[in-house]
């Protein structure tokens, strides 16, 4: 199509990884202050944040009534929280079944869906040049 194509400067990035010795050198300077986000303990205890937030907003909801509630909604405390929780769980839990029904191998249509070998570092892809 055109002689000009974009080639990401991936080579440089990889070259940098080779030369890295200290573990912190490959972390972005800004990110060094946020490394706690990758901490296992923080990850495990993160659950308390939404739980507390949810409880507080349910309690606040008891005081600040909805101005235009649905017909029976005013009698259910935390109605949106319940609805949100159920809806979210339903969506996520349906994923397994959906995947069984709709999931196919990536080469199903035989025209990609696979990442471009020029970009990808995935061994499964770089091994075979499907685009030739």
């Amino acid at each position: 199509m055109s002689t000009e194509t974009e080639i990401p400067v991936e080579v440089e990035a990889e070259a940098e990884i080779e030369t890295v010795s200290a573990p912190m050198d490959d972390i972005h300077p800004v990110s060094r202050y946020f490394l706690f986000l990758g901490n296992e303990k923080v990850k495990r205890n993160f659950i308390w944040f939404p739980l507390v937030g949810m409880i507080i907003s349910i309690l606040l909801g008891l005081h600040f009534k909805q101005k235009h509630p649905l017909p029976i909604e005013e009698y259910i405390p935390g109605s949106w929280a319940i609805y949100g929780f159920i809806a979210y769980s339903l969506i996520v839990l349906s994923a397994g079944t959906l995947f069984k029904i709709l999931g196919r191998d990536e080469s199903y249509y035989g025209e990609g869906g696979l990442p471009d070998p020029d970009y990808s570092t995935d061994p499964m892809v770089t091994g075979e040049a499907h685009h030739d």
């Binding site: 949810m54 949106w80 809806a87 709709l102």
Partner: protein, 582 residues
């Protein structure tokens, strides 16, 4: 500017952008092209601004007639001007995002595409609308094809579907205009004529009605990195404009829109390719707008307009952040990413802003506008669509609010250590990120958005009330809590590489198989047929030959003989018709 050059008031500003794109096709200098890419939408935006402030109600221009058809190629009124500004703004942001890419095809087709979208929403008549409708399709397919060889087939499908949509739009427009005494102005259409139905279907394809949506999730994830960002900004929003103009308050749209918000949620949760997840999310957002158009009335329509405006910005932001990740890592598959906040902190922040905006956190973009559509649904006692949209809001939180940032930037560390995104990408993302805050800012921010809204509201909707904030937070916290809970109990499905079937299976697999089977059958049939025919013809021919010509010339039946028989047959038909004529 308009005073010195009155011609500017007659020419659709989008055409200037298209012209810039045409110049770029020939311009070999990369920097000059980039200057056009940034300057052309700004120029168009300035003209729109001037024209709109000159006449408050509406500005018509560029009237010309083609034979019996009168075209009004430029109409700037309170509805279309919003899209005009929006597309110019998106054009500039996309231009900045693509500054690093030295590709003539991308630059020129992006400009032509942007210009066609601007010209299309500012078109006053249906023929101009159709022309721009097709031009957006034709110019944007190059962005899909720039995605590489594996995008070629998807691009062809994209083009075919959009051209079909355009032809349907034209046919519908002609039928509708005929029913209205040859008036081609594009105003409310309604569904009482076959033309209106055809036009709705054409717009439905472009906006991604359930079942007609698959081109979007097919083509967008395969386009080039910048291409996806640009594609996601215009096509579908252009169609939303057409729907808002033509089919406001059409009850069937409420249900179509409600279904449209729900079904992509299920596909997004199993999908592994994050750009496809975002395409499903785009489809789901469009559902809210379609539903709002179906509800109609000042509140819902203003909600739709506002939603379109902020949607382009935050959806662009999400696509840009995933694009930046893909630019650095080479992939957008959730299964191959993770832990990238260690190397791309700014991108992470922008992605989180985009995710928060789409999930409608207070102080972030969609909080104001989505609530207007939901409030309009409750106000009109449309409880079931309301609940469906609320369900979809939880779904939005799932796929765009949590899944996209979580699997890209957090989750388990993929070990990829890459550079932060290039400066121009960060600049584009920071503009969008700023707007996400600004357009929902309670003190003088969202009021700016309100000032743009076309319909007068008796009581301006107040988004920052206690009950709204509190109940929205209930929904969001509950969703996050459900996520962490499911994660903790290992119930959250792991990301797996797969191709997920959708409606496009009908034409990509079943249709193809049927066609291949049909072609094989046809080959056999025609072989048999021709054998049978030669046998029959040669038998008759031999008889004729034996009868009429004792010493043989050509004994084979020639095509000219067959044609002569046909001629005689047709003459017979004509004579019979003439004989039995009244």
């Amino acid at each position: 500017m308009i005073d010195q050059f009155p011609i500017l008031a007659e020419i659709n500003p989008g055409l200037w952008v298209i012209l810039a794109g045409l110049i770029c096709t020939l311009l070999p200098v990369g920097r000059a092209r980039k200057a056009f890419v940034i300057a052309a939408p700004i120029f168009a935006g300035l003209i729109i601004f001037q024209l709109h402030s000159v006449t408050a109600a509406q500005h018509l221009g560029g009237v010309m007639s083609f034979g019996p058809i009168e075209l009004t190629t430029l109409r700037i009124d309170r509805l279309s001007v919003v899209w005009g500004y929006l597309f110019c703004l998106a054009g500039v942001i996309n231009g900045i995002y693509a500054l690093h890419e030295k590709c003539r095809i991308t630059d020129s087709s992006a400009l032509i595409y942007t210009g066609a979208a601007i010209a299309g929403v500012l078109a006053g008549d249906m023929i101009t609308l159709f022309v721009m409708w097709e031009l957006t399709a034709i110019s944007s397919v190059f962005l899909v094809w720039k995605g590489g060889d594996h995008a070629y087939a998807a691009g062809v499908r994209y083009l075919a579907i959009h051209v079909l949509s355009g032809v349907m739009l034209l046919a519908g427009a002609v039928m509708h205009a005929q029913a209205n005494g040859g008036d081609f102005m594009f105003n409310a259409i309604g569904l009482d004529s076959p033309g209106g139905l055809l036009m709705l279907l054409a717009m439905g394809i472009k906006v991604g009605f359930p079942g007609l949506h698959m081109w979007m999730q097919d083509a967008y994830p395969k386009a080039s990195i910048t291409g996806t960002v640009i594609l996601a900004s215009f096509t579908t929003k252009f169609a939303i404009y057409a729907l808002a103009r033509g089919f406001e308050g059409e009850p069937v749209l409420i249900w179509i829109g409600a279904i449209m918000t729900c079904f992509p949620v299920f596909f997004a949760v199993v999908e592994n390719d994050l750009r496809r997840v975002l395409s499903f999310s785009l489809n789901n957002q469009l559902g809210f707008m379609v539903c709002g158009i179906g509800i109609g009335g000042a509140l819902a329509m203003n909600g739709v307009v506002g939603q379109v405006f902020v949607h382009v910005i935050f959806k662009g932001l999400l696509f840009m952040s995933i694009g930046a990740v893909m630019y650095r890592t080479g992939t957008a598959k959730a299964s191959e990413l993770g832990g990238l906040f260690r190397s791309m902190p700014y991108t992470t922040m922008f992605c989180l802003i985009g995710a928060g905006s789409i999930a409608a956190f207070p102080l972030l973009a969609a909080f104001v506008t989505k609530a207007m559509i939901l409030a309009a649904a409750v106000e009109n006692h449309l409880y079931i669509p309301f609940l469906m949209m609320l369900f979809a809001s939880a779904g939005v939180m799932e796929h765009s609010g949590i899944k996209v940032p979580h699997f890209t930037f957090f989750a388990h560390d993929s070990g990829r250590r890459v550079k932060e995104a290039p400066w121009n990408m960060l600049a584009a993302m920071s503009i969008s990120g700023f707007l996400c805050f600004y357009l929902a800012w309670p003190f003088g921010g969202y009021q700016q958005l309100y000032a743009l809204m076309p319909f007068e509201m008796e009581h301006a909707y107040k988004p920052y009330t206690w009950d709204h904030v509190v109940f929205q937070m209930q929904l969001l916290f509950a969703a996050i809590f459900a996520f962490t809970l499911l994660k903790r109990f290992k119930l959250y499905p792991a990301e797996r590489r797969a191709e997920i079937l959708d409606v496009d299976w009908l034409y990509r697999r079943m249709g193809l198989n049927v066609a291949m089977w049909g072609s094989a059958m046809w080959d056999r049939l025609s072989a048999n047929m021709s054998r049978a025919r030669t046998r029959a013809v040669s038998t008759v021919g031999r008889r004729l030959y034996q009868t009429f010509s004792p010493a043989g010339a050509a004994s084979e039946a020639t095509p000219s003989g067959l044609a002569a028989v046909l001629t005689a047959g047709l003459l017979f038909v004509v004579l019979v018709i003439a004989y039995f004529a009244r």
